[in-house]
């Protein structure tokens, strides 16, 4: 199939059907243009989106299926951008979950035109991005790492993290400290001490 992306690589292609959709006013940071496409939006060489408002879906339940049929098997990532604009959405969403599974669509919910516009922008702007930011923890400074590390157990906060390392000098010393020693620090009550010591001594593996 002729993929329309070649003609307009830097802009979002919008189907003329979408004329008047308030979402279009919310695509602000990227250019967009109308094009003759089976999907509602084309967001990259292999990515397209169908837009569905649940309010409309309830009135015309067959609409989305005709659109999906027209789309055929084109595109690799087919987003079904669904706007939740009704209160009792449960039934519709249940149906759409099943539909998305059968028709190979990825369901994305949004709750406002603004958010919908943002999703479209995001998909377009990440077209060539690599998923590094979700693949591994983000690199950050030592102090941030330190605080992140110490505050993992519940109820231990930043203040506690700071008082802990400053009392022991290093993470290693803090990890190896005896509960009584930690209890001496102001702000560290028994519960926190117990949780901290318990966690660092707890085995990684639950051995049988």
């Amino acid at each position: 199939q002729a993929l329309p992306s070649r003609s307009a690589p830097s802009s979002i292609l919008v189907s003329t059907r979408q004329k008047g959709n308030p979402i279009l006013n919310n695509i602000r940071s990227l250019p967009w243009e109308y094009g003759d496409i089976p999907a509602d939006y084309v967001l990259g060489a292999t990515t397209c989106a169908l837009f569905l408002s649940l309010k409309y879906h309830r009135l015309h339940p067959e609409y989305i299926y005709s659109r999906i049929r027209a789309l055929g098997h084109k595109y690799n990532l087919r987003v079904l951008l669904t706007m939740v604009d009704i209160q009792n959405h449960e039934e519709s969403l249940k149906e759409l979950s099943k539909t998305s599974l059968i028709n190979d669509l990825t369901l994305i919910l949004c709750w406002s035109a603004q958010e919908a516009g943002k999703y479209l922008e995001l998909y377009k702007s990440y077209e060539h991005a690599s998923p590094t930011s979700i693949r591994a923890p983000q690199a950050s400074s030592y102090s941030e790492k330190l605080i992140e590390f110490i505050t993992v157990p519940r109820s231990i906060n930043k203040t506690d993290a700071l008082s802990l390392v400053s009392a022991f000098g290093s993470v290693r010393a803090a990890v190896n400290a005896r509960p009584e020693e930690i209890g001496e620090i102001t702000g560290w009550g028994e519960k926190k001490v117990e949780r901290w010591v318990g966690t660092v001594r707890e085995n990684f593996r639950v051995r049988k």
């Binding site: 030592y142 790492k145 001496e184």
Partner: protein
């Protein structure tokens, strides 16, 4: 006391009338017992358990007991068994970790006895029939206030009742408040528990009152202690900060409703909890700033508490830590400072706290040049906590009392028991009292005036030592925060560079207003009084030299007495052992039901309650009434007009109100019960009918074939979804899964994430790996994003929050962009959005329609390398998450380390070489450096 039970003579220990009443009621029928706090709930429970234990041939399961309660029940059962010489009694067996193998558990269950089983394991064992519900004699549910419809305990009870109609079921609670929120709370709670009769035992119950208010009443002396001016000033300033924070929250337009809010309510309400609870439904949507202010409220409440419990020096130290933790990185272009730090009131807090430790420093002294002249004028104030002096007085009075009336020798020891809220306070009192006890020994004992003077001197001694330690600590601490800050600065620079390169439109210009504020505070050598947090930091650093100089006089003063004040805890215990039981002073924190043991073991003549605790007063009453010949006198002190007093009073009031409401509801509930009785008597039938609304559809046809089956990872039993799936007549097969959380069909697998999980597992990269493996093994992998039942079903942030608007395009932090990245990376990964676990259960049913059933064995083996035992794959989550935060930790390194090293402490003690072997040179170096880097040096 002899029991009424017919069969073999079982000896019980229930001396009081209400306890006996409660027990005989329980023996006769299934009910929910709600006993007022401090009236000895566990004693009733253990006696009940013993009555079954002694007969033998029973299998009774205790649900919901925590570790301490297990310890108590175990001990009590053993004791009872010894007393009533019951040969059949087996005592308590605990099943509380995954450590116990399946085979071992099966064997234990077949032997019978009393079991305390962690709910999560119990559910799995019941479902897999490892513990056949039909063989269970009865279920005893503790902490039944925690049981809501979707909780795992409710699930346990349902499975039990479904399979076993004859076994007994008794529920207990000593916490009436949770039973009074919501609509017809007691009735719905009873439904969850499959019980009919509530049995209420408030303190004002006639039998209880009669039992406790007989002629053996405990003598209680109430002492109100005034706060010092400094403390009062700080308390008022904190309240002001709270007030401002709350009005900030209101401004943020989050629909927060605090209509009845007054300044005073900050004193007696746990306001941070109230606010958090109100914001909870929309927590994932509120802006960063709102979240920060809510955190501030918690911090402020912490300070409010610390003001009363910590001594002046520790309090000041605590404030220092808080201040440092709230420092934004210098030059930060985000307005992320806590608003309360900008208030004059905040300044008052910090300054007054400092003045309680030492004076001589002008309040808004700014020019560093002037500080050169200051050291001479600095002198330690070292304000003492007012309660200390009172404590000394009380001890003296007791001493006098014991001296003048030595005649009354009864069953109690002459011991003085001091109770306070936590270990920290314990330590403080111990230290104080220790100093008082050391001195009189050396001086002559009967010289009253002398010893009194000594007492006061020794308190100063303690404070001086604390001050010295504090100043030393402060020097180190300044270095720590300095080293952390410089690094922050560096990273921040690189980060902004990165942002500029990455962003689509380039980084938006920093808000002008913010820049002005940052600049002004950094350069405000001029006229303004100190009221910004940045200013205070600068203030501190420039004066470090002065402070160090200040140590000297303090040092010189206390050096001579240095040996007297030994700090170590261990030494202290040895010290107390020198005394006879009659001279003992025992300091102990409140520990709920455990306090009963303390009273029984110590048998004190005098009890000093350093902090008020309503439950403990009752425990003393119970203790006193249970023993004819033990006199006890209670001194009970609190700070007048303080949080402490208010909290105590409102706790008492709340409990009473709760019971009143419960009694009222119980009276009305008769109606609902008769209705229940008219309906089919089987409660689980009714449950299914209410949940499963679709039984009339095509579902029936499918039901004639194989029942629908869902394979669920055992770790998922912490959530409510398995319970609901079971409620919708699915067969839930608990398994140890390596890939995914739920397997619906041979092709469909599901990874469930709550919004909170979603955020964190995006952050540490776990979701990416999970998606990868799911795609590898299943045709239709799905990510389920599940919102909480009561939380708003949206990810949208609040309306016009311009800070987020500015950065939407290039902010890689928010959830939406991460979702976009994820779906772009894995186009085949499908997403299910569910507004609640109930909805999820329905969606699962829909997805399973006309599909094959999954094979549990295959599901378990999926993702395992050949020959691996599935049980090796279970990990503890929290330590793993911590390890994930360590730099250099990729998913591969992580699994390597978790397989080869025992726990975090062991990881931290590895040498660089050992790490090198395991995870390679670079990563090894990073990990090693993370643990071993000293924050004290640069």
């Amino acid at each position: 006391m002899p029991s009424e039970t017919a069969k073999p003579p079982v000896k019980l220990s229930l001396p009081l009338e209400y306890q006996q009443d409660c027990f005989s009621e329980l023996r006769n029928e299934d009910e929910l017992v709600i006993l007022a706090r401090g009236l000895g709930l566990l004693r009733v429970v253990t006696n009940l358990l013993h009555s079954y234990d002694a007969i033998g041939n029973n299998l009774v399961v205790v649900v919901g007991a925590d570790e301490r309660e297990n310890g108590w029940i175990g001990e009590a059962l053993a004791e009872h068994a010894a007393i009533s010489k019951a040969p059949a009694a087996r005592g308590l067996s605990q099943v509380n970790t995954d450590m116990m193998s399946v085979g071992m558990r099966e064997k234990m269950y077949s032997q019978g006895g009393i079991f305390s089983i962690t709910s999560r394991i119990l559910v799995v064992d019941l479902l897999s029939k490892l513990l056949n519900p039909e063989t269970v004699t009865g279920l005893v549910v503790l902490h039944s206030e925690r049981i809501i419809a979707t909780s795992i305990e409710a699930f346990v009870i349902r499975i039990y009742r479904q399979m076993n109609k004859v076994g007994f079921l008794k529920a207990f609670s000593d916490n009436p408040e949770p039973f009074t929120t919501g609509f017809a709370p007691l009735a719905s709670m009873m439904r969850n528990l499959f019980l009919r009769t509530p049995s209420l035992w408030p303190r004002f119950h006639i039998t209880v009152a009669k039992s406790l208010e007989g002629r053996k009443k405990a003598e209680v002396i109430e002492l109100e202690v005034p706060m010092t001016d400094g403390m009062r000033a700080i308390q008022n300033a904190i309240l002001e900060c709270v007030e401002v924070s709350i009005s900030e929250l209101r401004k943020a337009d989050t629909g927060l409703e605090l209509d009845d809010w007054t300044l005073d309510s900050a004193l007696h309400k746990s306001f941070d909890v109230i606010v958090r609870r109100q914001l909870d439904p929309i927590w994932h949507r509120v802006s960063y700033r709102t979240r920060q202010i809510v955190n501030d409220l918690s911090v402020l409440r912490g300070v409010l508490h610390a003001l009363l419990t910590y001594d002046a020096v520790s309090f000041n130290k605590y404030l220092d830590t808080i201040l440092a933790a709230h420092q934004p990185p210098p030059g930060s272009n985000r307005q992320n400072q806590s608003p309360w730090l900008f208030l004059d009131a905040a300044n008052t807090i910090f300054e007054t706290a400092k003045r309680r430790v030492y004076t001589g420093k002008p309040v808004d002294e700014e020019a560093p040049g002037a500080s050169g002249a200051l050291p001479d004028s600095l002198s330690p104030t070292l304000e003492e906590q007012p309660k200390w002096a009172l404590l000394a007085d009380i001890l003296e009075e007791i001493e006098g009392d014991a001296y003048f009336n030595p005649g009354i020798r009864d069953d109690s020891n002459g011991t003085i028991l001091m109770m306070c809220s936590d270990q920290g306070t314990c330590r403080q009192i111990r230290e104080y009292v220790q100093n008082m006890h050391v001195r009189p020994q050396q001086a002559t004992e009967d010289d009253d005036v002398d010893s009194d003077a000594e007492v006061k001197a020794s308190a100063t001694l303690m404070m001086r030592r604390k001050l010295r330690n504090y100043l030393n600590w402060k020097r180190d601490f300044a270095r720590v925060s300095a080293s952390l800050f410089t690094e922050n600065q560096k990273v921040l620079e690189s980060f902004t560079d990165q942002m500029g390169a990455n962003g689509y439109r380039g980084k938006g210009p920093p808000n002008k207003r913010r820049r002005v504020r940052g600049g002004s505070s950094a350069a405000s050598g001029g006229g303004r009084p100190v009221n910004s947090s940045l200013q205070m930091a600068a203030d501190r650093e420039s004066q470090l030299a002065t402070l160090i100089a200040n140590i000297q006089p303090a040092d010189a003063d206390s050096e001579q007495k240095d040996e007297v004040a030994v700090d170590s805890l261990d030494d202290m215990e040895g010290y107390f052992e020198l005394y006879e039981m009659n001279d003992l002073v025992v300091v102990h924190p409140y520990e709920g039901d455990m306090d009963e043991h303390i009273l029984e073991e110590v048998r004190p003549r005098y009890v000093i309650m350093y902090e008020p605790d309503a439950a403990f007063i009752r425990r003393v009453e119970v203790y006193r009434s249970s023993h004819n010949d033990r006199n006890v006198r209670v001194y009970f002190m609190y700070y007048g007009g303080s949080v402490e007093e208010q909290r105590y009073l409102s706790a008492v009031r709340r409990e009473k109100d709760a019971f009143t409401r419960l009694i009222k509801e119980k009276g009305n509930m008769a109606v609902t019960i008769t209705l229940d009785g008219a309906a089919p008597s089987d409660p689980q039938e009714q449950f299914l009918r209410t949940v499963n609304t679709r039984i009339a559809g095509g579902g029936r046809l499918a039901a004639t074939a194989e029942p629908p089956r869902i394979v669920v990872d055992v770790r998922e039993f912490r959530s409510s979804l398995p319970s609901l799936l079971h409620g919708r007549s699915n067969v839930v097969v608990p398994c140890m899964l390596t890939v995914a959380d739920y397997v619906l069909t041979p092709n469909i697998c599901i990874e469930r994430k709550s919004v909170r999980d979603l955020i964190s597992s995006f952050k540490n990269g776990r979701l990416f790996n999970q998606a990868e493996t799911m795609l590898q093994y299943y045709k239709y992998p799905m990510l389920l994003i599940e919102f909480d039942q009561n939380k708003s079903f949206t990810l949208d942030t609040f309306g016009t929050d311009h800070t987020t608007n500015l950065s939407t395009a290039n902010n890689p932090q928010d959830l939406q962009s991460k979702l976009a990245l994820l779906t772009l990376a894995f186009p085949r990964l499908k997403i299910i959005w569910s507004s609640s676990p109930y909805q999820t259960a329905e969606i699962f049913d829909e997805l399973k329609k006309q599909q094959e059933e999954p094979d549990p064995i295959k599901a378990v083996q999926t993702g395992l390398i050949a020959g691996e035992d599935p049980s090796d794959q279970s990990f503890n989550q929290t330590p793993q998450d911590m390890l994930r935060a360590v730099p250099g930790m990729t998913e591969k390194n992580l699994s390597r380390i978790t397989l080869e090293v025992g726990n975090l402490a062991d990881v931290s003690n590895l040498t660089e070489e050992e790490l090198d072997v395991m995870i390679g040179k670079e990563a090894g170096r990073q990990v090693y450096r993370f643990f071993n880097r000293s924050v004290l040096e640069d």
